[in-house]
Amino acid sequence: MVEFLTHSAGFPVWLSWTVTAVTAAVLILNVMAVGALVFIWAERKIAARIQDRLGPTRTGGKFGWLQSVADGIKLLAKEDLMPDGADAMLFRIAPYVSFCASFAAFIALPFAFDVVGQRLNVGGFFVVAVLGLEVFGVILAGYASASKWSLFGAMREAAQVVSYEVPLGMCVVVPVMLSGTMDLVTIGEKQAGWFTNWYVFHDPFTFVVFWVYFTCAVASVNRAPFDLAEAESELVAGFHTEYSGLRWSFFFMAEYGSMFLVSGLASVLFLGGWNGPVPLASILGLSEGTGDTAPFVVRLIGCMNLLGKATLGVLVMMWVRWTLPRLRIDQVMTTCLKYCTPIAAVMFAGAMLWTWAAPGGLVGLFAPNRLPRLVFRPGGEIREGWIEGPGGLMASSGTRATTAIGPTGVDRVQDSAGPLVAVKRDAEPYGLEFEGVR
């Protein structure tokens, strides 16, 4: 977009950067804000159904779908209270810390191939690191409220989140290891094709890792059954007891934003990202289209896929919340330190051994012709670890290329029928991308 504005529209460089950055920020903000509105409504409906009630039915028609908007207007009009003994500056700023952390993590989350706020080559790491900052807002809120309930909530949250970062990080490392990069865009592209290429189905170990990741993600975004920081049956409302009005709602925007974010990260890391279960774009022949519209249609389908998967993850989190009872704090720590961490560690070692023995995973063993194919597209990067299938590089027409990519560099690999698939790293103006089976 920057290039388009600078070269085609004739904008000065700084202005094109401004326009691009503002566009990306507004889009991400919309995903968070509109997402929170929809998810709060969905949560109320789901909770009601699980408890054999109807939930909101009147506001805005049959399904009460305007309930969140009505709530938002109510929160805007509510008085902004602060306890007398509170630390005013920290109390006021804490909700924004939570919100900013959640928002900043979205910068590196890709919604489709190259549809990402900023493509970072350490994207996965960045998201996990920034998501860990959200806890700081909660701790500050609990501390600055000068209330015992809030302080208890904050201390539980601090202990919980610091512990759960460990297994969460271990789970994130597994797809990073399989794909040989931390770039979320490349990780997603490497799972192109049928759903059998998704990392969750790569081998039995990654399947388990996915569920461990999901458990830890629920805990790290502070949702029931791990919502010890709120624990409304014991701590009134935990860390946000003393908050009201818009500041209170910022905490909830952050919470729902983070839920969506960890679900989106789960989709990119394990569930194929923007690649649907069936490679629809490839079957329709859109991936090869070089016209003006085909790439946009492919990316639009990708966005729908990713948003659908992330929404599904959020709905599962709601289902879990209204089904399982809240754990005690010692049970929370036991789950993390005695179960999640060892399981994640063993599964990490298992996935490593499996990749060493059979690089293509289950698909590579049973249906090697369904592995993602390398096709030649500008703008990627070449890694020696990116050899798919046993024995060599898969060329785009399905036959195996003769030259494998060695550890020292990349030779020019040419398939007789297909296009050029790799070039030497020294001369790299180009790179590799991955595309599914046609």
Partner: protein, 153 residues
């Protein structure tokens, strides 16, 4: 509208670019908040200022294209160390909002040491001839530095 146009023309005249703007912003935030850490009495406020200061430093790393270092900074210092620090403060504090009053003798000593260290660092920084020249501004589409060599090491 007129102030907007005026602002835009000033930006254009000054050879404005966002890189310089954000460098100054992050650098000022890092330095100013570091001073705020020193001059605050409340421990948790200190920690909060330190969070912002270290985050601004991470911003400088991101600006320089060192994404891995920036994310490390966020993960280790901001996300890990400081959460533990605040956690420790909350566990050990006897009364709410503990304040630390530094004796003026120690303040003087700290000021002398700090100014001396700062002078040495400044001298060392300006004695590097390569650092005096303005760096080449990367063009759009240039390859960015990558964390791959770290992973392959």
């Amino acid at each position: 509208m007129i102030p907007c146009y005026a602002f835009a023309s000033v930006c254009l005249a000054a050879g404005f670019n966002w890189h310089g703007f954000f460098f100054l912003l992050f650098a000022a935030a890092a330095c100013g908040l570091a001073l705020a850490v020193v001059f605050t009495d409340n421990v948790v406020r200190m920690a909060f200022h330190l969070v912002l200061s270290l985050s601004a430093t991470a911003g400088l790393f991101f600006l320089a294209g060192a994404e891995f270092v920036g994310a490390m900074q966020l993960m280790i210092y901001v996300g890990g160390t400081l959460v533990l620090l605040v956690f420790g403060v909350m566990l050990t504090a006897q009364a709410p909002f503990v304040s630390i009053a530094t004796p003026s003798g120690e303040k003087l000593l700290a000021a002398v040491v700090g100014v001396a260290l700062f002078a040495i660092l400044l001298r060392a920084a300006f004695s590097q001839p390569a650092w005096r020249e303005p760096p080449a501004v990367p063009a759009i589409g240039d390859r960015k530095p990558s964390a791959t060599p770290i992973g392959m090491a």
